[in-house]
Structures are given as structure tokens and as C-alpha cells.
């Protein structure tokens, strides 16, 4: 039985321009100890999906359809109180722009302790501080920096502190939303290595969300590619990288400059993403696709199995 089973998840927002579906019919499963990465460009719905899994959608957003089955229970049918018990204790999140996720007027050690105290009534304050010390060792921050304030930390250290906070209640699942985007490559590399080790050590499941496909591939066994609210390709990273089938995945891969191999011309994707208030009837990528079929514009595409777990939402594949 998978740890997390997401079925037909559809999340809508009410905006002043109308109602839209930011995530539209996404299905996936995640086993214990596995990692799954979602990649896509801004506005594809990846962050919204992460927030929906945490039950942290903004007031104008709501889950319209679907199920989020975590450890055999549907999170969407739980009361707010029940959800509060799962959140952070079982499912934790590393937020985008972690540097701003810390409270600037509270000592970092105290903030990490607070995450534990709020979710565990039996824990005393002193016990919590001992645990914070262990967590700081784990993520590689010197213990004597516990009494510092966030502004005294470097970007990488803040990121580490936020990871420590996510680990505080020993969750089973961590959702990491662009955890290294604001960091320099050397620091990013160190943080990613750290996360990989922690994952092994605690048998964590990780959902990794990023716009950078190379980071996602580096971290995760399986990759889901998202476009305009839909999952369009899914599979093991080798398959998605080496033999991508969806035209969007192909286009995305050929728009990244590489460090090795022959210098080929980058091929930008023409056009813009569709307006989700009035989504196209057929395939959402159709207008930007280099080889659309005759029915692509009018009929919604269907999932096609390529090999094993590898599949794509495209009627031409």
C-alpha cells in the first residue's frame, strides 16, 4: 500500500478574472522512502498542488475534486483539528524562499523548538531544546548558533534551519517546494546532498517541486512534468530524460543550456501558456506544439502508456 495516493486532484481558485483550475485531475502514488519530483514552469500548478497536500491553500482556493489518501485515510474528509494533527507531525513542508520563512525577531533555536512544542503536548521546553541540538547536528549547523537570530545566518544556514524545522516532528513525508532556488550552486549542492542523506537515514518520502529539471532529476527517482495545471508526463527519471515523449517535456529539455556535449542551438518554446480561466478544449500545449495532430485542438488528450511506469498525456505519442 502506498504512503500517499492522490486521485484526480483538482484545485480551483476564484480570482477577479473568474474561476480557474490551477491543478486539474492529477493522479500519482508515492511509496514510503521514495522520492517524486514535480517540474514545470511558473504557473503550472506545482506549488498549488504542494499547498493542497498540506491543506494550506489560500482563502480563495479550494480542492474541487479528488482524494488525497495518506496512510489509508482521505485528508480531504478530515476535520481541521484532525488535519492539524497530521500536518507537520506526519507531513512537513520546506517552503519556497526559506529565508523568509523564519521569524526575524525570534532566535532560530527557539523557532525550531516551537515547531515541536506546538505539535507535541507531552514535550517539555528543556527536552525540546535538547532535541533542537540534535537536529542542528543533523543538518550541519554548529550548536552555538542556536541563540542567533535569522539575520545573523547566511542563506544556506537559514535553509538548513528550515530543514531542521521540517524534520522536528519526524514526519514521514516532506514536501520541498523549490528549497534551493535562492542559493548559490555550491551551497545548493551541499543542501541537496544533506537532504539525500537524511532521506536515507529516516526512510523519508519526499515530494520535490522545482522549475529546474536537473535538480529534480538529481534528487528523485520518478519525475512528473506539469503544464498548465495538468500532469503531462510521468515516469522514472531515466525514461523522462533520455526518451521524453510529450512535446512539452522535449521542448523543456531542449531549452536548457548544458555544460557538456556539442553546443546546439537552444530551442525556445514559442507562445505563452494558456489562460486557465478559459482553458482550451483540447490539449493545453497544442498552440505551442511543433507537430499537433488534427484532433489535438478539439479533443482532450488521453494517457498513453509508453513502457512500465512511463506514461504521457498526449494523443500523438
Amino acid at each position: 500500500m502506498p504512503l500517499l495516493n492522490v486521485k484526480n486532484l483538482t484545485v480551483g481558485y476564484n480570482t477577479k478574472h473568474g474561476s480557474l483550475k490551477a491543478v486539474d485531475g492529477v493522479n500519482f502514488t508515492l511509496e514510503e522512502g521514495e522520492s517524486l519530483g514535480f517540474v514545470g514552469e511558473s504557473g503550472c500548478g506545482k506549488t498549488t498542488m504542494g499547498m493542497a497536500l498540506m491543506g494550506l491553500l489560500p482563502p480563495n482556493g479550494s480542492v474541487r475534486e479528488g482524494q488525497i489518501i495518506f496512510e489509508d485515510k482521505d485528508l480531504l474528509e478530515m476535520s481541521p483539528e484532525q488535519i492539524r494533527r497530521v500536518r507537520w507531525r506526519k507531513i512537513a513542508m520546506i517552503f519556497q524562499a526559506a529565508m523568509n520563512a523564519l521569524n526575524p525577531v525570534q532566535r532560530v533555536g527557539g523557532q525550531v523548538a516551537e515547531a515541536m512544542l506546538v505539535h507535541d503536548d507531552s514535550l517539555g521546553e528543556e527536552e525540546a531544546m535538547v532535541k533542537v541540538e540534535e537536529l542542528f547536528d543533523l543538518v550541519g549547523i554548529p550548536r552555538d548558533r542556536m541563540i542567533d537570530y535569522p539575520h545573523q545566518y547566511s542563506g544556506g544556514m537559514k535553509q538548513r534551519a528550515v530543514i531542521a524545522m521540517a524534520l522536528a516532528c519526524q514526519p514521514k513525508l516532506i514536501i520541498a517546494d523549490e528549497p534551493t532556488t535562492a542559493l548559490d550552486v555550491i551551497v545548493q549542492d551541499q543542501i541537496l546532498e544533506e537532504m539525500k542523506q537524511l532521506q536515507k537515514e529516516f526512510n523519508l518520502s519526499i515530494i520535490f517541486i522545482s522549475h529546474d529539471i536537473s535538480i529534480v532529476a538529481d534528487m528523485c527517482h520518478d519525475i512528473g512534468v506539469m503544464y498548465a495545471g495538468q500532469l503531462v508526463e510521468y515516469g522514472p527519471r531515466e525514461a523522462v530524460f533520455e526518451s521524453p515523449v510529450h512535446p512539452y517535456t522535449k521542448a523543456l529539455l531542449s531549452s536548457f543550456p548544458t555544460l557538456t556535449g556539442e553546443k546546439t542551438d537552444l530551442v525556445p518554446i514559442p507562445g505563452e501558456t494558456p489562460n486557465l480561466v478559459t482553458p482550451p478544449a483540447g490539449c493545453r500545449f497544442c498552440d505551442r506544439c511543433t507537430q499537433p495532430g488534427t484532433t489535438c485542438k478539439t479533443e482532450p488528450p488521453e494517457w498513453v502508456a509508453i513502457s512500465g511506469e512511463h506514461k504521457a498525456l498526449c494523443c500523438r505519442c
Binding site: 514552469e41 511558473s42 542563506g155 548559490d184 550552486v185 555550491i186 545548493q188 549542492d189 551541499q190 541537496l192 522549475h211 529546474d212 529539471i213 536537473s214 535538480i215 532529476a217 538529481d218 527519471r237 530524460f241 521542448a251 523543456l252 529539455l253 531549452s255 536548457f256 543550456p257 548544458t258 555544460l259 557538456t260 556535449g261 556539442e262 553546443k263 542551438d265 537552444l266 530551442v267 525556445p268 518554446i269 505563452e272
Partner: protein
């Protein structure tokens, strides 16, 4: 006017220090050395890449070159003419020849001005082009950056443009005076990958169409490899390595460049990449600041000369220089 020289930009031993303000009670903080004796030349028609992490001084160098900041010491030359401390009319004349494309197109365009106002403003400032002539020039500039048909965009305001379109407007504004030298400071760091590729290709087209020389400032070695003829790697205000793009990435000489390459996610590269392992896992604490800037994090450094003397750039193979004793 000077005959056109081959070296359009020359920087000689430039130093820039930002004075730190001490607090009223506390001790004075240490000054920040943003550039610590940087020298380089850029020949006409070249796209020169300056690669570094945040705080390395790469943006400061760009700002010095366009005259937004003043150097503490050292000299800057454009077309063999010294431009280190220009004032008044001369500065204005200089700014006709040098333009900048900023990082964030959401902030670099005035939201209250239409595309036409923004792109034509340099013409107005330099009193070039009148009336209909001005319209024609703006149309051409928009066409050149792929905003076509230009009449669809002329009277739009930035809020009705996507990030990629805004950055193109910024490029059109920079190119409309037909400058000799353009500084592009991380022009794609706020944009998605597919849009970045569009901007890269437009910059390459600008070079062929307008024969412009470019300084491309970036944190991404891969982007620099794609765009640039030569690459310089900068670390804490010091140039560590300069060379032809392929050389610096395929055959890096400096331990810092190697550490940067090591840190890039490897999955999906077309070939297997070597691991250099030049980064110390724990920073050295005994660095006294008089030696190599990378000493505290360098695995190959030796305690003697690397900590005492600052290495200078020396040539390893034709046109490929590294500032390292090893």
C-alpha cells in the same frame, strides 16, 4: 574621434570598496571589498561572460562600467578613451555608447509608461530622431527583439506584458541608440527556462545584427557556455580564471572553477562529467586575508604561499589564464 580600436573595453586594476557603516555603539564593521584589483579587456564584437556567485562582485563590475558607481582606484577605458571619472556632457556622450539590461524586468520598466515611451526615451534624452522618425525607430527596435507586429505593443503598458516580453522591451530600449557596448546583468534569472532561451537567442542575434560587444553577467556556467566567447570566473572580487568558454568549462584550471562545476547537478548532461573534489568540506579558519581569496575553502592550497601571497593571473595555454600557484 579616435580610430576604432580592437579592444573596446579595458579595465586596469580596478578596486571598489564599500564602506560599512558602524553602528552608533558597536565597533566599526569591516569594509566590503567588492572588487580587488580586476583587470581585463574585451575585444570588439565579443560576448564576454562574467560568472560568479552572489556577492562575488560581478554586478559591481557591471555598474562601474556603465558609470553607476565610481571606482576607488584603477582605470576604465572605452575605445581607448579613459572613462573612469566622467562628468556632465562627456558622461552623457559616454552613455550613448554603453547601455545596460537589468536583471528584473518587473522592476526595470516604469509601470506608468507605455512601451513606446520606454523604448523611445533614450532618443528623447539624446535628442535623436523627431516625430514620425522616432516611431519608425521604435518599431524597428521592437521588431528586432521579436515583438511583432510592433504596432500591437507600442501602446501597451508593462502590466499587460509577460516577463519575457518585458525583458525584450528592456533589450529594445538598450539597443535603440545602437550602442557599442551592452552590459546584460543576469537578464534571465527571473524568467522560466523556455523564455530564457528566447532571450539568449535574441542577445546572440543582437551581436550579429548590430555588431555590439557584450558583457554577460551570470551565475550559470551553462548559460555562459552557450552565449559567450570567453568566460571569466570571479570570486570575492578577484578574477580566478579567464579563457575561451569551452576551455574554462571543459578544462578548468582553477580549483574554484572546478568546485563550481562539481556543484552543478549532473543528471541529464550529455556526457559524464569528471569530479574534481577541490572544495574543502570545512572552511579553514586561519585565513588571514592576505593570500588567495579561495584559500579558506580550497583543498589543494598549501598553508605557506597560498595563505600569504595573492596569486596573479598567469597564462596556462593560449588565452587561458588562472590565478593559482598550482
Amino acid at each position: 574621434m579616435n580610430p576604432k580600436s580592437n579592444q573596446i573595453v579595458r579595465i586596469e586594476d580596478v578596486r571598489k570598496v564599500y564602506k560599512a557603516k558602524g553602528s552608533f555603539f558597536g565597533a566599526r564593521k569591516k569594509d566590503v571589498v567588492a572588487l580587488d584589483g580586476v583587470s581585463l579587456t574585451i575585444p570588439r564584437g565579443e560576448i564576454f561572460g562574467l560568472v560568479g556567485e552572489s556577492g562575488s562582485g560581478k554586478t559591481t563590475l557591471g555598474r562601474l562600467l556603465i558609470g553607476l558607481e565610481e571606482t576607488n582606484s584603477g582605470k576604465l577605458f572605452l575605445d581607448e578613451e579613459e572613462v573612469t571619472h566622467l562628468r556632465g556632457k562627456e558622461l552623457k556622450r559616454f552613455r550613448r555608447k554603453v547601455q545596460m539590461i537589468f536583471q528584473d524586468p518587473y522592476q526595470s520598466l516604469n509601470p506608468q509608461r507605455s512601451v513606446f515611451d520606454t523604448v523611445s526615451e533614450p532618443l528623447k534624452i539624446h535628442k535623436l530622431g523627431l516625430g514620425s522618425d522616432k516611431y519608425e525607430k521604435v518599431r524597428q527596435a521592437l521588431q528586432a527583439v521579436g515583438l511583432a507586429p510592433p504596432d500591437d505593443y507600442l501602446h501597451r503598458y508593462p502590466h499587460r506584458l509577460s516577463g519575457g516580453q518585458r525583458q525584450r522591451v528592456a533589450i529594445a530600449r538598450a539597443m535603440i541608440l545602437n550602442p557599442e557596448f551592452v552590459i546584460a546583468d543576469e537578464p534571465t534569472s527571473m524568467l522560466d527556462a523556455s523564455i530564457s532561451a528566447q532571450i539568449f537567442n535574441i542577445l546572440l542575434k543582437m551581436r550579429t545584427d548590430f555588431d555590439v560587444t557584450m558583457l554577460f553577467i551570470t551565475h550559470s556556467l551553462a548559460a555562459a557556455r552557450y552565449l559567450c566567447d570567453r568566460i571569466a570566473v570571479i570570486y570575492r572580487g578577484n578574477l580566478m580564471e579567464i579563457g575561451p568558454g569551452e576551455e574554462v568549462i571543459g578544462n578548468p584550471m582553477h580549483p574554484y572553477t572546478k568546485a563550481l562545476l562539481d556543484a552543478i547537478p549532473k543528471f541529464g548532461q550529455k556526457e559524464v562529467m569528471k569530479r574534481y573534489g577541490t572544495l574543502l568540506s570545512r572552511e579553514r579558519e586561519d585565513a588571514n586575508g592576505s593570500g588567495c581569496a579561495f584559500f579558506s575553502r580550497c583543498k589543494v592550497a598549501d598553508e605557506g604561499q597560498c595563505s600569504m601571497t595573492k596569486p596573479v593571473l598567469n597564462e596556462r595555454s593560449k588565452g587561458h589564464l588562472a590565478a593559482c600557484f598550482f
